[in-house]
Subunit: 345 residues, 2 copies
DNA sequence: CTGAAAGCGCTAACAA
DNA sequence: TTGTTAGCGCTTTCAG
């Protein structure tokens, strides 16, 4: 009965009338512009309160062309998105940064290629000022979609193509992988296997490359491809064990896969790290600290990378269209990694 | 260089011009209204293609007052939101249903009370046509916020207050809990413990009530409160074990907590189910099938409940303001639960 | 069946 | 400092 959904919300006009000023002045007060006499401003603010006025975003956007909203698009079925703590952490960082800048995060889930059209429409529809793209595969069409939509974009992870003005944030996957393998080597291991991620993603390829940098002549049977899930890790481990029962160390391209590998190792009766040393990648604490034994891994600061992505995008969006100011042009960011030693290697 | 972000997107006006019709006609075609001669319609469509026209949502919303977007607000820190597969499944169902109706899902994360203001502004700003509220605690102010914003709302889980026109979707928590306890009883267990969820949420209270329905005189020391995390489950189990070493069965208010309890039970040297039978709630397959041993549990169809919430809300939003048609008034939904027997009880 | 015209609510020049 | 005046791009009566 006292439901407001039908009572149309008050407009700026109403506020102005009540405060006895013009719409322009009311607008100035609402938007915090300088140069409104304190007395008037106060009257307007009171009117706003009394009427419960809230600006109509559509109207505002129509003229300012800003939404104060950023889309996060994940090229991954929801199942994986939610199952993988990696995304959670990244989104967390993004969310914090956006919130701090009064921007809304709009999460767009894509279950498959069919959803790309919808996402394309959404981006082109001008709902958001920019987009953060995630988990791209090979020649994913998402970036082009965003580009065509005219929406500034920052990509999570190095994209598969080279292109001067593509912005992204990634960690030093290759260097991290090298550190991992060297650590294993330093432990005296000689039959070192690698469980790679899906090779249609650059992170996987880069980590594999790092592995090969250190072990260029490694037995090719000591490399198996997983899919960044625990199960994938377990299956890869099983295959590795089958092919090379003498394996004495494993570098998994993610903690999540490492946890699966650990499980499989136990099933097969191997002790970790005595028989087989295991090292992961990511340092997702909720995984790496809870495996048995706790996981030695290569740390990347995922949440911080999320924040960086958001910051980068926000700066791009706000870019004053190359006016005289010497704002350094936004550039891709590659963060360092760090070995975290626990019990598994 | 060929970047489009500066080339302003084509407007309906441009499309109309190119097709040699009026803006009105172009609009009709774009929105699929009846009654435009096929030939003209075709010309318009071609113009749309050639220009790559996409309607400006802000402009459209300004006049139609519809957004075709629904907010999902989770009253839970992101950490938990992402860590708990329960949310993932629910969001999945929602997302599917919304997508099927060409609605966008806008996920609003709230890290704490401070974010409520932001959410309130967002809802009141008219960004969305409705809101789905989740994981409400006690006298959460979110529903009132939404109400004040004039945004139709559906709540996930029975709210803590009674109110004729509050829409929600929940499962039969109390009945499910009764089934769980009876099952344990049927197994011959007599020292049955309960790990409750946070008691500021109705789901927890309802499950506890169900437990008590069957075991009204149970030793109060056999009840401990958890927090819906694995750790919380483990800690609660530890407390239980400490207080009543003779416990021979546990009903945990969620699978996630049950998994923690299982871990603690193993640590303490108990065999499951021989020494202690364990039953969970939810049937989150990725948890219940993977614990050791696999978890007997009370199943609720979480994804379907998500869909139902979305459907309910969409129907409410589209409600033709009580015209003559005899659309049944939307009402809360309570779904049944079902015992799924695995190895733990 | 089609077009002309009137706004939706707001911001941003431009005047005063 | 404040008000007046144009629109932003679209939908939707209302005539024709």
């Amino acid at each position: 009965m006292s439901d407001q959904s039908f009572a149309s919300r008050p407009t700026l006009e109403a506020v102005a009338a009540r405060a006895g000023v013009s719409r322009a002045t009311a607008s100035r007060v609402v938007n915090g512009s300088e140069g409104v006499r304190a007395a008037l401003a106060e009257r307007v603010r009171r009117a706003v309160d009394e009427l419960g006025y809230v600006p109509n975003q559509a109207a505002r956007t129509l003229v300012t062309r800003r939404n104060d909203a950023i889309a996060v698009v994940v090229a991954e079925p929801e199942t994986r998105f939610f199952a993988d703590p990696f995304f959670a952490q990244q989104v967390r960082g993004i969310s914090k940064e956006l919130t701090a800048h009064d921007n809304q995060l709009v999460l767009l889930l894509t279950e498959g290629a069919a959803d790309y059209q919808r996402v394309g429409r959404y981006l082109a529809g001008g709902h958001v000022d920019g987009a953060l793209l995630f988990s791209l595969h090979d020649d994913d069409s998402l970036p082009m979609l965003a580009r065509r939509a005219g929406v500034p974009t920052v990509i999570g992870g190095r994209p598969g193509w080279s292109d001067a003005d593509t912005l992204y944030v990634d960690c030093d996957n290759r260097g991290g992988a090298r550190d991992a393998v060297r650590h294993l080597l330093g432990l005296g291991r000689r039959r070192i296997a690698h469980i790679a991620g899906p090779l249609d993603q650059t992170a996987s390829v880069d980590r594999l490359d790092g592995f090969r940098d250190v072990l260029p002549d490694n037995d090719p049977r000591l490399t198996a491809e997983g899919d960044f899930t625990p199960d994938g890790g377990a299956k890869a481990m099983a295959a590795l064990l089958e092919r090379c029962p003498d394996v004495d160390a494993v570098f998994a391209a993610s903690d999540v896969m490492a946890s699966g590998a650990l499980r499989m190792l136990r099933t097969s009766g191997r002790r970790v790290p005595e028989d087989v040393a295991v090292i992961g990648f990511d340092d997702i604490v909720s995984v790496s600290e809870w495996t048995d034994p706790p996981l030695t891994t290569i740390r990347q600061d995922i949440e911080e990378m999320g924040r960086m992505m958001a910051r980068l995008l926000l700066r791009t969006v706000a870019a004053p269209a190359a006016n005289g100011t010497e704002t350094p042009a936004p550039a891709p960011i590659v963060t360092p990694t760090q070995l975290v030693r626990r019990a598994s290697a």
